[in-house]
């Protein structure tokens, strides 16, 4: 029983990180029809920005975090939109997909060549010291992962539905032409989405890197899982990405524990294929805006 609880709770903690990456992914998709194959690298890079801040500029950890966040929003948010998405999107979705794949290679190799090919330790934001929870070890880090991602969903949903900017962003995402007529600055709204995505990716990076370590190749796993979470949960719903992330995190751990470790990597993939074929709008998704 304690084993089951352990696996369940750890799965939720891991899944909440997947969810953060998946939410940003879904947002960018809605706002700019951009499928970002470099999303995993977007979670890898901010950790290195922080390490550069501390190692190269000698910043204290908290300042380096702020530096990492700002630099991520600049590079992975603003520059990504301006230099890659804007010029390539008119050439079509598949072209953009391929460009983001090339971007993934670029980010990985740049980090590897300019920083290090080896994994790097990363200071913890919160203690990883375990607490006993009915026989399962749970750390403050785990709990905070969950709380942070839940709060993000709540805050983002409130922001998108209750504030003027949020509603403008939604309008810009759903019908850019009409939004433009209504006086919404569509370009700016789309830019906000990219900035939010970069911020969420940074947050995910700061939360997991202490445990997963900073390594140039980390994005490969996280990126794929984030896509799967977004698709399984429902591309056009923020809470769908959350559900998808948690579901994948838990199912992955349960499979590895009780079914097969050899094929644990297969489960999310099979789930993905099934969802795409049976319910392409995702578990939580609604079918509108999902015409393929």
């Amino acid at each position: 029983m304690s084993q089951f609880l352990q696996v369940l709770l750890s799965g939720l903690a891991t899944g909440s990180i997947y969810a953060l990456a998946a939410i940003g992914f879904a947002l960018v998709w809605q706002a700019a029809q951009t499928v970002n194959f470099a999303q995993g690298e977007f979670v890898m890079v901010p950790a290195f920005f922080v390490l550069i801040g501390m190692g190269f500029f000698g910043m204290p950890f908290w300042l380096a975090l702020a530096f990492g966040l700002a630099l991520s929003m600049l590079v992975l948010g603003y520059a990504f939109k301006k230099l890659i998405v804007e010029p390539i999107l008119p050439h079509g979705g598949i072209t953009l997909i391929i460009a983001t794949m090339a971007l993934a290679i670029l980010l990985k190799e740049t980090v590897k060549e300019s920083y290090s090919a080896e994994a790097q330790p990363f200071p913890a934001l919160f203690s990883n010291a375990p607490m006993n929870f009915f026989g399962a070890a749970v750390s403050i880090q785990d709990i905070l992962n969950l709380i942070v991602s839940l709060s993000i969903v709540v805050v983002l949903t409130l922001f998108l539905n209750r504030t003027r900017t949020g509603r403008s962003m939604q309008a810009a995402a759903q019908n850019p032409a009409v939004a433009e007529i209504l006086g919404v600055n569509v370009k700016r709204m789309v830019l906000y989405t990219f900035l939010i995505n970069a911020a969420l990716a940074s947050l995910a990076a700061f939360l997991i890197t202490p445990v997963y370590l900073a390594k140039f190749s980390n994005g490969e796993t996280i990126g794929l899982i984030a896509f799967i979470a977004a698709i399984v949960g429902g591309f056009n719903q923020i809470r769908g990405a959350l559900v998808g992330g948690l579901l994948i995190g838990v199912l992955d751990n349960l499979t590895a524990t009780y079914v097969t470790a050899q094929y644990r990597a297969a489960l999310p993939l099979v789930l993905l294929i099934m969802i795409i074929l049976v319910r392409p709008q995702g578990i939580m998704g609604t079918s509108e805006g999902r015409s393929v």
């Binding site: 084993q3 352990q6 696996v7 750890s10 799965g11 891991t14 190799e109 590897k112 090919a117 080896e118 994994a119 790097q120 330790p121 990883n128 375990p130 070890a137 750390s139 997991i208 445990v211 997963y212 370590l213 390594k215 190749s217 980390n218 490969e220 796993t221 996280i222 995190g249 992955d252 751990n253 349960l254 590895a256 524990t257 470790a261 050899q262 644990r264 990597a265």
Partner: protein, 376 residues
């Protein structure tokens, strides 16, 4: 026109080789990019230091040593091409590769060209294919892991053990040898936990081991996987000793795992922490001065590979792959006579290596030698 081009090329090449008379070329083929880059770059840097030293000591057969780097991109097929390229360029010997998956592919090429090849790979199969030109620079898993058996059997007196391994050709090889060894020693393996390469979440792996509750766990993974495993093991307070082969107590793993590595034990073929051994201490110091980081196991392997090339070639007295092979198979080098080989080292008739090794434990954040294991 093509023909004349070929002719010109031939003339140029002939000129090149005439010029090359007074140098010995070595092909350093390793994983400089891709997933294997950490291992490959350390291997390369170990080779670099060795080659500088060899040249300072007069080179091989009094000729200057020239080493060229070839990047396999951690891709077996590219590695095959790179070994071919190195041999085409006139390399007398190949140093590399580290990843067994690559070595198994590219060693065919070196064999076809009778080119001696020192590899950093530890998968058992590398020396089981009857290839007389491939030589290890550390003991293979089928040598290293049996050296651990007495530790499980006599020191820990374990009856039930677990094994956690990374499911690639490296981990699988180690795991198979371990399970076989335990069977022979009459120890039951009650938990057999496979994990993926580059896996990040080890919660279920550790939970399974905790549930099975063996008396000790053998951990056989690559560096950062080992670190992540240790972090999770500490979190879930896995109570039994964690014992590894080589990787588990490496400086990098300790750095990454932080306090979580405390108490981990490993059998290490040759370790930079064994600074009591004069050659190792000197190498570690020089490496740290040159590259501003601690040498890893792979760096020492590259270093030993390059020096072994020199020692054996000097003994043979000419640059002849066939003669080199005849000489080294079954050869023992004493550290007293050949200090840069670091420890008394023997190669058997398959190219497998044996030499004394160490048991190491992480204490106060640093690996400490807790015992030596004689060559087996």
């Amino acid at each position: 026109m093509k023909k004349s081009l070929a002719a010109i090329t031939a003339v140029l090449l002939a000129a090149g080789s005439a010029y090359a008379q007074d140098t010995v070329k070595l092909g350093m083929v390793a994983e400089l990019s891709g997933a294997g880059a950490p291992a490959g770059t350390n291997w390369r840097d170990g080779v670099k230091i060795a080659v500088e030293e060899i040249n300072a000591a007069g080179g091989i057969l009094k000729k200057k040593v020239e080493v060229t780097d070839y990047d396999t991109q951690t891709d077996p097929q590219v590695s095959r091409a790179m070994v071919q390229k190195a041999i085409d360029a006139g390399a007398f010997a190949i140093l590399g590769t580290v990843y067994s998956g690559s070595t198994l592919v590219n060693m065919l090429v070196a064999q076809q060209n009778s080119t001696p090849q020192f590899v950093g790979s530890e998968a058992p199969t590398v020396v089981q294919k009857g290839n007389p030109f491939v030589y290890r620079t550390s003991s293979g898993a089928q040598k290293g892991i049996p050296a651990l058996t007495p530790y499980f059997k006599d020191t820990l007196k374990a009856k039930k053990v677990g094994v956690a391994w990374v499911n690639n050709e490296f981990g699988k090889g180690g795991r198979n040898v371990f399970v076989e060894e335990m069977k022979k020693a009459g120890i039951e393996v009650i938990a057999d936990v496979a994990s993926e390469q580059a896996q990040t979440d080890y919660a279920s792996d550790v939970a399974k081991l905790k549930q099975a509750n063996p008396e000790a766990v053998f951990v056989y993974m690559n560096q950062e996987e080992s670190a992540r495993f240790l972090i999770e093991a500490k979190k879930q307070a896995l109570p039994m000793p964690l014992i590894g082969e080589v990787t588990l107590t490496e400086a990098k793993v300790i750095e990454l795992a932080g306090g979580a590595a405390e108490g981990a034990i490993a059998h290490v073929g040759v370790t930079a922490t064994a600074t009591d051994v004069p050659g190792i201490g000197a190498f570690a110091k020089k490496f740290e001065e040159t590259f501003k980081r601690k040498p890893t196991h792979d760096a020492i392997k590259g270093y030993v590979g390059a020096w072994a090339t020199k020692y054996v070639a000097d003994m043979v007295g000419k640059l002849d792959g066939e003669a080199f092979s005849k000489k080294i198979l079954g050869l023992c080098l004493k550290a007293a006579d050949h200090p840069k080989i670091l420890l008394d080292t023997c190669w058997d008739k398959t190219g497998e290596m044996s030499r004394p090794s160490f048991m190491v434990q992480v204490k106060n954040g640093a690996p400490v030698v807790i015992g030596t294991v004689p060559a087996n």
